[in-house]
């Protein structure tokens, strides 16, 4: 008698199970235990809502939520106000050096935000270059870069590129015949913008804004460095967690729950907008760029030049100051390579760590991304659907929350990972897997399953077929995604700053600690190396993907 086999046990079943276990162990279990501890009394470990009451009772705590809200809302509004017009004008009109402009904007977007904070302190801080210049030359006191204004400045310059790139992508899909149709119906050029162009790109701008909002809300490095007394949620979580000795992180956990709920709602909102509200447009004839003449053309170029310059100033400052001579922590006149010498002597390990951890993480990410992309597109089942939705988690969990989560979950035997390189690599993999996964899945959707069937019909086993045919055809998508993952890994701060110990310090953590210690020279030298690596990786991305744009 034949026994009915309900479950086909093959290579892909094993892969699916292994990935499910990995996700359960390193994502679901830590998150659930963090959430649970938010509802526990620190002393008795019984169920309580006191942690939440504590937050909403004291102004010292709940004002951080208000601060966060204010910072993110203003940042988002400013990012739209800068990014959307910039995208519109550079699409509609001829702008010189457009390619360079795009690359500079993308570089400013991909370098870590705390480098921006650091540079603006060097420029406009208490003993900053600009501050001193205005003080000595005119006796004028420049507005402070610390606090709310500083956070807003740095985050806006860091995040408007998202709106810029999103809007640009949407404008590329608007066929010029739509604009001509409006004109043929008697519509004036200005009215055309308000009744046709803006409504068409509005859903995209909205989706981009929610992304900016989530990023601004989750950012830890910027408010930590430049915020000073202006505390926001992620900083409060970090402070509460660090100051709790002995692992009683229940209050910090409750804060994390609040933050994750907000980002979760934002994320769902963003998904909804992208799926339901955006228009399917295909453009045979994209909008042609027009050449402007005379004064208007000059104004256009000067304005765009200023915005790009402002966004790239942090990188320029960092590279410039890294070659300044220093005396202790202070910059002095003249140039030298002292800062570089110092970091190779004292902080060389952090550079090595960044590359070592990064490369290990990226190998794991590539393998996991390819397998997950395959099982979620070609082997759909309830289990792969769950895996598919779990891969979205990193989007809504701020880095600092993830750091705390992993630390709490893996600080005792049998899974004692805290303080090891492993836990940092896990954090890297979890946070940056989605970039590679998304582009791997995207390319797999375009590969016809009949390719695999052809290989199988010619006598290859399904497993061989995957490695000999499918995996190779997926490579372009995998590689371009992997480079993005790589760039964001080496710039990762908010999780690693919680997970590092002396031995596992990475470059971005070292920069952060050096800035905190006010040794700006070494911080600048490290940041320059990081920026250089980022730029080279980015150029490699453009070269390999053949694209001139990037989507995060």
């Amino acid at each position: 008698m034949m026994k009915e086999r309900r479950f086909k046990f093959d290579f892909w079943t094993i892969v699916t199970l292994v990935i499910a276990i990995v996700f359960a162990l390193f994502l679901v279990y830590p998150l659930l235990s963090l959430f649970a501890s938010g509802f526990k009394d620190p002393d008795t470990q019984g169920f309580t809502l006191d942690n939440f009451f504590k937050f909403f009772e004291k102004k010292y705590y709940y004002r951080t939520l208000w601060h966060s809200f204010l910072v993110t809302t203003c940042t988002t509004a400013l990012a739209v106000a800068i990014g959307a017009p910039l995208a519109y004008f550079s699409t509609v009109y001829k702008v010189k050096l457009k390619g360079l402009m795009d690359i500079l904007i993308i570089i400013s977007m991909l370098s870590p935000p705390f480098i921006g904070a650091y540079s603006w302190i060097v420029l406009g801080g208490r003993s900053g270059v600009i501050t001193k210049f205005f003080m000595n030359a005119f006796g004028i006191e420049t507005p402070s870069v610390y606090g709310f204004g500083g956070i807003l400045l740095v985050l806006t310059l860091k995040l408007y590129p998202y709106i810029y790139l999103y809007t640009k992508g949407a404008l590329k899909k608007v066929d010029s015949s739509l604009s001509e149709a409006a004109e043929s119906l008697g519509c004036s050029p200005f009215r055309k913008i308000t009744t046709v162009i803006i409504p068409l790109i509005a859903p995209t701008i909205l989706a981009g804004s929610l992304l900016v909002f989530m990023n601004a809300l989750a950012d830890f490095g910027t408010p930590m460095l430049i915020g000073e007394g202006y505390t926001v949620m992620p900083v409060l979580i970090y402070n509460e967690f660090i100051s709790e000795v002995g692992g009683k992180a229940n209050f910090a956990a409750a804060l994390a729950v609040i933050l994750v709920i907000i980002t979760g709602v934002m994320f769902l909102g963003q998904k909804y907008v992208v799926n339901k509200k955006s228009f399917t447009m295909s453009s045979l004839r994209p909008i042609q760029e027009k050449q402007l003449h005379g004064l208007i053309n000059i104004i256009l170029h000067v304005t765009i030049g200023l915005v790009v310059l402002l966004s790239i100033i942090p990188q320029l400052t960092v590279i410039y100051t890294s070659f300044k001579a220093t005396k202790g922590a202070m910059f002095t006149d003249g140039f030298s390579l002292e800062s570089y010498k110092t970091i190779f002597d004292n902080l060389g390990k952090s550079i090595l760590n960044t590359y070592k951890f990064g490369i290990i993480a990226i190998i794991i990410i590539v393998l996991m991304a390819m397998f997950i992309a395959y099982i979620t597109t070609r082997r759909r089942s309830w289990l792969t659907n769950i895996i598919d939705s779990m891969t979205m988690f990193p989007y809504i969990i701020p880095g600092s929350v993830l750091g705390i989560t992993l630390l709490l979950a893996f600080n005792k035997k049998p899974m004692l990972l805290s303080g090891t390189a492993v836990i940092i690599i896990i954090a890297f993999v979890v946070r940056r897997l989605p970039y590679t996964l998304r582009s791997s899945a995207a390319i797999l959707y375009q590969i016809s399953p009949s390719m695999e069937e052809a290989a199988i019909s010619l006598g290859d086993s399904p497993l061989k077929t995957f490695f000999k045919v499918t995996a190779i055809m997926m490579m372009p998508g995998v590689v371009s995604g992997a480079i993005l993952s790589w760039i964001t890994i080496i710039n990762e701060l908010s999780a690693s700053v919680i997970l590092y110990t002396g031995d596992t310090r990475t470059m971005s953590v070292a920069i952060y600690t050096e800035v905190i210690r006010s040794s700006y020279g070494t911080a600048a030298a490290l940041a320059s190396i990081l920026t250089l690596t980022t730029v080279i990786s980015l150029l490699l991305f453009f070269k390999l993907s053949g694209k001139k744009e990037i989507s995060l």
């Binding site: 739509l178 001509e180 004109e183 043929s184 119906l185 008697g186 409504p199 399917t280």
Partner: protein, 369 residues
Amino acid sequence: MSNSINIENVVKRYGDATIIPDLSVQIKNGEFFTLLGPSGCGKTTLLRMIAGFNSIEGGSIKFDDKEINHISAHKRNIGMVFQNYAIFPHLTVRQNVEYGLKIRKIKKPEMKKKVDDILDVVKISDYQNRLPERLSGGQQQRVALARAIVIHPSVLLMDEPLSNLDAKLRIEMRSAIREVQKQVGITTVYVTHDQEEALAISDRIAIMNEGVIQQIGTPERIYTRPNNIFVSTFIGHSNLFCGIYHKDTIGAFVQFNNGYQVYVHDLKQDCKEGMKVIISVRPEEFLISEEGLKVKIKNRTFLGKYTNYEMEFEKGMVIDNQPSLEYSQDLGQSSRIYEVGESLTLKPNAFKINVFAEDGKSSLIKGCE
């Protein structure tokens, strides 16, 4: 309301390339006028010059007597239907149709009536509250047409409006467009590369090639009496033969290279005796006969109503480098279908065939240029 379009000596240049060197045409009020030609012939360029989306480098375009060269597109009062329809995806069907009326500040009750009427005319009232992405290609086409017509434009411009539809829908929409155009009585310029569509829909057709109009005329005239070899081979199929022009006491005739002679109806009488000519015979203009042109059947395609034979003529009879030489046998008129390899003798129909000068640029038929 509707008006004529007078195009006088217009020139179109892109940088150093001249797309249209010097083109003139008069389009009458209320006429359905088609620009037909192979891709890259300048037909869409000309249409977009009328619309105001392309600049005019020389000459003038007038609506009636009013020159419009320097009026911007949104002030020309044109209605335009685009190849990809260009329906606004963020507006419903009804809002799309209302768009132009709102700009013209038409009052609410009047607007409602106008929109209701036009939605009925193009038969899309049932879908008026849908978003365009939920419409089929044919329905989107009707929305585009309604949106262009409802503003009562001076001229209606259509840029290959049917090329994205499947064959059956194309024929259905073609009659719909024709019907609506006649009902509204609006001057229409229609661009297409599909000759069957042009023949079926137009009052007059202008055949264009390389920015120059080759012939303007009614569909019948263009098919039966083409002005030159380009038109004769572009519209329908034509077999081209080498021949000699002769005159005698009875009249003018042409002689094929095998000595066979045909007194061609309406052949000009005043040409030079003995000059070389090109004789153009369409596949359906042959009759099976005792004497005439000897052929061997190379290939056969049975198409129902008629059978198409690909033929081989004796050496030196035909012009070199023709894609194929064809004879269409009408099934209703013939006793049997021939096999590949069989030989036949074909006689050209003297009333139908055309004769061109040796360079192919002018016709030797009376009344042609």
